[in-house]
Amino acid sequence: MRQISINKNLQLFSTFAKMSAVTFGGGYAMMPLCERELVEKRHWCEQEEIADFYAVGQTTPGVVALTVAGLVGTRVNGFIGACAAIFGMSFPSLVLVTLIGALLTQNLDNPFIAAALGGTGTAVCALLTVTVFKLARGCVVDMTTLVIFSAAFAVLMLGMPPVWVVATAAFFGVLYGRKTNNIFAKLSRLRDKRK
C-alpha cells in the first residue's frame, strides 16, 4: 500500500516536471501537454475537466499552472499528491533559472536565441489554436455557450481582468441554470455521474 502511494507521488512529480521543463510560454502553453499526459497517458482526469481546472486556476490565488498541478495531485493522492505535483511543476524552473537565468539575461538579443524563441512561440500559438478548437467542440453546444465564448474573448481582449470574467461566467451559469432548467448542464452532469 505504502509502495503504491510512493510510486504515485513519483509519477506525479515526474509527469509535471516533464511538462514544465519542455513548455515555453507559461501556464496556458501547457494545456496541450496536459491533455496528452494527464488525460491520454495517465487517465488522471477527463478532457473537459482540464478546462474546468484552468477556470478554477483563474479564480484562485497563485499561478494557473501550479493550481492545475495542485488540483490533479489532490485527486490522485490527496495532500501529499498535491505537494508532489506542485513541486514537480516548479522544480525545473528552480534549476533552470538558477543555472542559466543570469546567462540568458546577457544574451537575450543574441540573434540565434531570439530566432529559436520566436519559432517556439509560433509553435505554441499553433498548438493552443488546436486546443481551443478541441475545447470549443466539447463545450460550445448551443447559442448560449457560443455567446459566452465570444463575450469572454471580447471582454478579455478589451482588458477586463480574467478573475472577473470567470466569476461573472460562473454566476451567470448558476442563474441561467436556475431559470431554464438547463438541459445541457444536466446532460453533462449525468455523464459525469456515469463515469
Binding site: 507559461g26 501556464g27 496556458y28 496541450p32 474546468d52 486556476g57 483563474q58 484562485t60 490565488p61 497563485g62 499561478v63 501550479l66 498541478a69 495542485g70 489532490t74 498535491a82 513541486f87 516548479s90 524552473s93 533559472v97 537565468g101 537575450l108 540565434f112 536565441i113 531570439a114 524563441l117 520566436g118 519559432g119 509560433t122 509553435a123 505554441v124 500559438c125 499553433a126 498548438l127 493552443l128 488546436v130 486546443t131 481551443v132 478548437f133 463545450c139 459566452i148 465564448f149 465570444s150 463575450a151 469572454a152 474573448f153 478579455l156 481582449m157 480574467p162 470574467v165 461566467a169 451559469g173 448558476v174 441561467y176 441554470g177 436556475r178 438547463n182 448542464a185 453533462s188 452532469r189
Partner: protein, 184 residues
C-alpha cells in the same frame, strides 16, 4: 533575515496574485522596489528572461528575483513561498469539487465556465501571435512566422483527426528548429 523577507514577499504575491503568471508582475515589482533587490532595468530583464525559459512564468520570475536577492537558497525560498498559498487553495478546492461533484449548481457553473475558458485561451493566443507577426525586425520574418503557424495548425488538426498521437513537444521542437533556420 533576508530570507525571511523573501519568504514574506513571495508568500504575499502567491496569495494575492489571482489569475495567470502575468498577474504576479505588479506584486513582484512592488516587492522589488520595497526591498531594493533590483533596479528597474534589471527587473525588466528578469521579466524577459522568465518569459523565455520553459516552465510557468510566475515561478520563473519568483526564482529569478529570489536568486538575485539571496543566491541559490533565496531562489528556493521564493519558489516555496510562492507555491504555498496555491497548494493550500488547490487542495481545498479539489476536496470541495469532489464533494459536490454531482450537484446541480456545479454543473450549471461549469456549463458556462467551459466556453469561457475556451474564449480566455483564444484571447491569450491572439496578442501573442500578433506580436510575433508584426514585431519582427524586417518584413520576411512575418511571412515565415505566418507560414510556420499555418503548417503547424494543419499538422495539429490532422494529428487530432487521424489520431497520430504526435507529442506536443515534437511540434514545439519543430518550431524552435524552423525558427533557428529561417527566422534570422
Amino acid at each position: 533575515m533576508n530570507y525571511f523577507y523573501i519568504f514574506i514577499e513571495f508568500f504575499q504575491t502567491g496569495l494575492f496574485a489571482i489569475g495567470g503568471g502575468l498577474a504576479t508582475v505588479p506584486f513582484v515589482k512592488e516587492a522589488v522596489s520595497r526591498q531594493h533587490w533590483m533596479t528597474n532595468g534589471e527587473m525588466s530583464a528578469a521579466i524577459a528572461a522568465a518569459q523565455s525559459l520553459p516552465g510557468p512564468f510566475g515561478v520563473n520570475l519568483a526564482v529569478y528575483v529570489g536568486y538575485s536577492a539571496g543566491g541559490v537558497f533565496g531562489g528556493a525560498v521564493a519558489m516555496v513561498a510562492l507555491t504555498l498559498p496555491t497548494l493550500i487553495c488547490a487542495y481545498i478546492v479539489m476536496r470541495m469539487l469532489e464533494k459536490w461533484k454531482s450537484s446541480r449548481i456545479l454543473g450549471d457553473m461549469f456549463y458556462a465556465l467551459r466556453p469561457c475558458t475556451a474564449g480566455m485561451i483564444a484571447s491569450v493566443i491572439l496578442p501573442l501571435f500578433l506580436t510575433q507577426l508584426f514585431d519582427g525586425i524586417h518584413i520576411p520574418v512575418n511571412v515565415q512566422c505566418a507560414v510556420l503557424y499555418a503548417v503547424l495548425v494543419g499538422i495539429g488538426v490532422l494529428n487530432e483527426i487521424k489520431r497520430w498521437k504526435l507529442p506536443p513537444v515534437l511540434i514545439i521542437a519543430t518550431g524552435a528548429a524552423v525558427g533557428l533556420l529561417f527566422f534570422r
